[in-house]
C-alpha cells in the first residue's frame, strides 16, 4: 500500500497508466471480437466426401459460425466463428451428427512454423523437378548425337539451369553435411554434398573445354530424388510433430474461477495458488487443490486405474485429472499449470525419454556402413586410373565422378521414408497416429503385449451385470432413485433398466445426498441407493451401488464397458503368437473377471506405476520386446519404459506424450493391424536396401571400368529410385 502511494506521488503518469491500459485492453477485446475465434477440432471419424458435405453444411447453419473447413488429410476441422461460440458446443453438434470430435488448442498448434518448413522443402523439390525436365530435354539431344558446337551449347544451357538449381535445391544437404562435419561426424549428407559439388565442378570444366560428357542431368536428378526422400521423411515427422501438438492440445484446459461469488471461465494457465475453483459434477479437476466446500465422489481411474469412486468432502486433497461425479465442489488451488502433479509426471516422462536408449534405426545403420564407402570408392577409382592411364588426370577424374554418381544413395535415401510414409498413411486411415517414425520398426519386433485395463480395454463407462438377480419391484425402486442422480453408476443403471422396459415406482421427496447417494420415500418407508457404508450394506470387492429397501440391502454390481475391438485385439494378438499380459491398478476381482472375459492367462492386479514399469523392465531383461498399451497417469512410466507404446486419444496428455502411437478412434482392434503393417513395412525396407544394393553391385564395377556414360548414370538412378518407391507403395 505504501509502495503504491509513494509511486503515486512520485510519478503522476502512473495514475493515468491504468486507465490507458484499460482502454488498450478494451480496444484489444474489440479487435478480437471483430476477428472472431478460430476453433480447431480433431475429427478422427471423417473419411469421405459425404462427411465433408454433412459436417460443413450443418455447422455453417450453426448461429455465430462464419466459415467451416474440414481438412480430410489431417482429419481436422477448423471453424471460424464469432467470439463467444464455444468449442464444446461445436463438438457436441458434431457428436450429434455421429462424429467423434476432440477440441484442439489453436494456440498450441503452431501450424505456420511447420507449414513454412514444408513449403520450403516442397519449393526446392519443385525447382529441382522443373530443372530436371528441362536439362533432360537438352541431354537427350546430346545423347542422340549432337556434336561439336551444338553439344557445347546444349551443355552450356544445361549448366545455366543446373548450377543455380543445385545451389538452391541442394541447400538442405549442404547445411546438414556442414553441421555434421563440424560435429566431427560423417552422415549420409556428406558424400551427397561432395558428389553434388564435385559433379557440378567437373561438368562445368568439361563444358568449357568442349568435353564429351557432362553430368548436369545426373546431378539435378540426384537432387530431385534425394529431396523427394527428404520431403517424405519430413512430412512423416511433421505429421508426427503436429500429432504430438494436437495431443497436447486435446484437452483444452479451462476452469471456472470463483471471485467474490462471481463465476468466470478462465484458462487454467491463468490460475494461481490460492484461487477458488468450482468443479461441477461431470467435470475434470483442473488443478491440484483442497476441497473447501461441497461433498461428492471423485473418479481417480485416470490416475490410478481404480474404478471405484472415492469420497470427497471438505479437506480432501484432489489432484488435476480426477473427475468429479456427484456434487459441485469448491477447490482451493494449491498448485496450477506447470506445478500440478499431472505436469510433474509429464516432466518425469520427458526425463525418462531422454534417458531412453537411443534406438538405432535401420536407416542409421545403413548410412553408417555406407557413407564412408562412397568417397573411398571414387578416390580408389581415381588413384587406380591415374596409375593405369599413366597420369591422365582428366580421364581419372571423369571415372571417379561417374563412380561417385553411381554409388550415390538415391534409392537408399528413398528406401525408408517412402515405406514409412506409405505405412503411416495406411495406419492413419485406420485411426492410428504414428508419433515417432521409428515406432514402426520397433513395433515390428514386438513379441509381448502388456495391456492396461481401465480406460484401455474398457471405455471407463460402467454397465450393470446382475440385474436378473433382483426382483422387479426392487429394480423399479432402484430406477426411480437412480433417475434422481447424475452419478455415472446411477445413469448406467437408469439406461439399463429403461432398456428393459421397466417403469419407475412413484417415490416422494427424492433427494441426492452428494458424496453418498440418493434417498426417497416409497410407500411410507425410506429407501436409499448409494454407497455401502451409507445404506448399511456389506461392501463387495467390485464396483456396485447398494439399495436399502424393506430393511434389506441389495447390491447392483457393475462392470466396465468393454472397449469395442478389445476382444478382437486380444484374439488377433494371440493368433500372431504374442504373449498377452494384463496389468492393472484395479482390485483383483475386477481384473480377474476382465482377464477371464478376454482369455488372458497372465494378469496382475493392484499394480502400482512402479510395478508396471518394473515388470516391463524384467521382460526386457529376459530378452522380450514389449508393446505397452495404456492410458492413465499410472501407465506413463510403463509406457516410456516399453519398447514401443500405444495410448488411446482419451488418455491423459502425459500418457499420450509418453507413447509412440495414438489411437484416434474408439475401436482398439486396429492395434493388431498396426503390428502386422509394421512387420510388412520393415520387410519392405529390407527389400529396398537389397534392391539398391543389387543395383550398386552391378553398376559400380561398370563405373570402375570407366564404361559409365551420363546416359547410363541417369537411367540407373531413376530406375532404382522408381522401383524402390513402387515397392513401398505395395503397402498401401
Amino acid at each position: 500500500m505504501t509502495d503504491a502511494t509513494s509511486s503515486l506521488s512520485a510519478c503522476p503518469a502512473c495514475v493515468a497508466a491504468p486507465a490507458a491500459e484499460a482502454r488498450a485492453q478494451d480496444a484489444e477485446a474489440q479487435a478480437r471480437a471483430a476477428e472472431g475465434a478460430r476453433i480447431i477440432l480433431s475429427v478422427p471419424g471423417a473419411h469421405c466426401a459425404a462427411c465433408i458435405g454433412t459436417i460443413e453444411r450443418d455447422l455453417e447453419r450453426m448461429p455465430g459460425v462464419r466459415s467451416v473447413r474440414l481438412n480430410l488429410t489431417l482429419k481436422r476441422l477448423s471453424v471460424h466463428a464469432d467470439e463467444g461460440v464455444e468449442a464444446a458446443a461445436v463438438a457436441s453438434r458434431l457428436e450429434g451428427l455421429g462424429y467423434e470430435a476432440h477440441e484442439l488448442d489453436s494456440g498450441t498448434l503452431s501450424m505456420t512454423e511447420t507449414d513454412r518448413q514444408g513449403r520450403d522443402l516442397l519449393m526446392r523439390l519443385g525447382v529441382a523437378g522443373f530443372a530436371m525436365m528441362n536439362v533432360m530435354l537438352l541431354s537427350v539431344a546430346v545423347w542422340s548425337g549432337a556434336t561439336d558446337a551444338t553439344r557445347d551449347l546444349f551443355h552450356l544451357v544445361s549448366a545455366l539451369i543446373a548450377v543455380p538449381t543445385v545451389a538452391f535445391s541442394g541447400q538442405p544437404f549442404f547445411r546438414s553435411a556442414i553441421r555434421a562435419l563440424k560435429a566431427g561426424r560423417l552422415n549420409m549428407d556428406g558424400p551427397i554434398a561432395l558428389a553434388l559439388v564435385l559433379t557440378v565442378a567437373i561438368s562445368l570444366y568439361e563444358t568449357l573445354n568442349s568435353g564429351h560428357h557432362a553430368y548436369f542431368e545426373a546431378v539435378v536428378m540426384l537432387t530431385f530424388f534425394l529431396l523427394t526422400g527428404r520431403y517424405l521423411d519430413y512430412r512423416a515427422r511433421a505429421l508426427a510433430r503436429s500429432a504430438a501438438q494436437e495431443l497436447a492440445a486435446l484437452e483444452v484446459p479451462r476452469a471456472t474461477r470463483l471471485q467474490g461469488g462471481v463465476e468466470t471461465t478462465v484458462p487454467v494457465a491463468e490460475l494461481a495458488a490460492g484461487d477458488m475453483v468450482l468443479v461441477r459434477p461431470g467435470g475434470r479437476v483442473p488443478v491440484d487443490g483442497v476441497v473447501t466446500e461441497g461433498r461428492s465422489e471423485i473418479d481417480r481411474s485416470l490416475l490410478t486405474g481404480e474404478t471405484l469412486p472415492a469420497y470427497a468432502g471438505e479437506g480432501t486433497v484432489v489432484s488435476a485429472g480426477e473427475v468429479n461425479l456427484t456434487g459441485p465442489l469448491t477447490v482451493r488451488v494449491t498448485a496450477a499449470g506447470k506445478d500440478t502433479s499431472l505436469h510433474r509426471m509429464a516432466d518425469l516422462v520427458a526425463m525418462a525419454e531422454s534417458a531412453r536408449n537411443k534406438y538405432t534405426t535401420l536407416a542409421d545403420k545403413a548410412a553408417r556402413a555406407y557413407a564412408p564407402t562412397i568417397p573411398l570408392l571414387s578416390l580408389g577409382a581415381f588413384v587406380a586410373w591415374l596409375w593405369i592411364s599413366g597420369g591422365d588426370l582428366r580421364l581419372s577424374v571423369n571415372i571417379a565422378i561417374a563412380t561417385l554418381i553411381i554409388t550415390c544413395p538415391c534409392a537408399l535415401g528413398l528406401a525408408v521414408p517412402a515405406v514409412v510414409t506409405a505405412a503411416s498413411g495406411r495406419l492413419f486411415r485406420k485411426g492410428l497416429l504414428i508419433k515417432d517414425g521409428t515406432a514402426l520398426e520397433r513395433l515390428a519386433q514386438v513379441d509381448t503385449v502388456v495391456l492396461d485395463k481401465t480406460g484401455t480395454l474398457t471405455l471407463g463407462t460402467p454397465e450393470p451385470t446382475n440385474l436378473d438377480s433382483h426382483p422387479e419391484a426392487a429394480a423399479r425402486v432402484a430406477l426411480a432413485l437412480a433417475q434422481g442422480s447424475g452419478h455415472p453408476l446411477a445413469q448406467a443403471l437408469t439406461r439399463a433398466l429403461v432398456a428393459r422396459g421397466l417403469h419407475p415406482e412413484r417415490l416422494e421427496s427424492v433427494q441426492e445426498v452428494p458424496g453418498y447417494g440418493v434417498e426417497g420415500v416409497w410407500q411410507g418407508q425410506r429407501v436409499q441407493l448409494g454407497r455401502a457404508d451409507w445404506v448399511g450394506a456389506q461392501a463387495l470387492d467390485c464396483t456396485a451401488a447398494y439399495l436399502a429397501l424393506d430393511g434389506q440391502t441389495r447390491a447392483f454390481t457393475f462392470a466396465d464397458r468393454l472397449r469395442p475391438g478389445a476382444e478382437e485385439l486380444v484374439a488377433a494378438l494371440k493368433r500372431q503368437g504374442k504373449r498377452v499380459i494384463l496389468l492393472s491398478g484395479d482390485v483383483p476381482a475386477a481384473v480377474r473377471d476382465m482377464a477371464a472375459r478376454l482369455g488372458i492367462d497372465d494378469w496382475q492386479a493392484e499394480a502400482l506405476p512402479q510395478d508396471k514399469a518394473a515388470r516391463i523392465e524384467a521382460l526386457h531383461a529376459a530378452g522380450h520386446r514389449v508393446l505397452m498399451i495404456g492410458d492413465g497417469l499410472n501407465d506413463t512410466v510403463a509406457l516410456t519404459a516399453a519398447h514401443v507404446s500405444v495410448s488411446p486419444a482419451s488418455a491423459l496428455d502425459a500418457a499420450r506424450a509418453a507413447s509412440d502411437i495414438v489411437l484416434l478412434g474408439r475401436d482398439i482392434a486396429p492395434v493388431a493391424d498396426a503390428v502386422t503393417t509394421a512387420r510388412a513395412a520393415t520387410r519392405r525396407i529390407h527389400e529396398n536396401f537389397w534392391q539398391s544394393g543389387i543395383y550398386n553391385a552391378i553398376f559400380v564395377p561398370i563405373a570402375l571400368f570407366g564404361l559409365v556414360t551420363p546416359l547410363i548414370a541417369a537411367a540407373v538412378m531413376s530406375l532404382s529410385s522408381i522401383t524402390v518407391a513402387l515397392n513401398a507403395l505395395r503397402l498401401k
Partner: protein
C-alpha cells in the same frame, strides 16, 4: 539448326512458366489437403463459384 535459337528460349520460358505456376499453387496452400480436395470435386456444392 538456326531454329534452335528460338526453340531453346521457348522451352526455357515454358519451363519457367510451369515453375511459377507451381510456386503460385504452393503459396495458395493447394497442397494442404490433397485427400479432401480429391473428394470435394465430387460435390456439386461449389460448382457455381468456388469456396474461398
Amino acid at each position: 539448326m538456326e531454329i534452335l535459337g528460338i526453340l531453346i528460349p521457348v522451352s526455357l520460358f515454358l519451363g519457367l512458366v510451369g515453375l511459377l505456376g507451381f510456386y503460385w499453387t504452393l503459396k495458395k496452400g493447394m497442397y494442404e489437403d490433397p485427400e479432401g480436395d480429391s473428394r470435394r470435386i465430387l460435390q456439386g456444392d461449389y460448382d457455381d463459384k468456388p469456396k474461398s
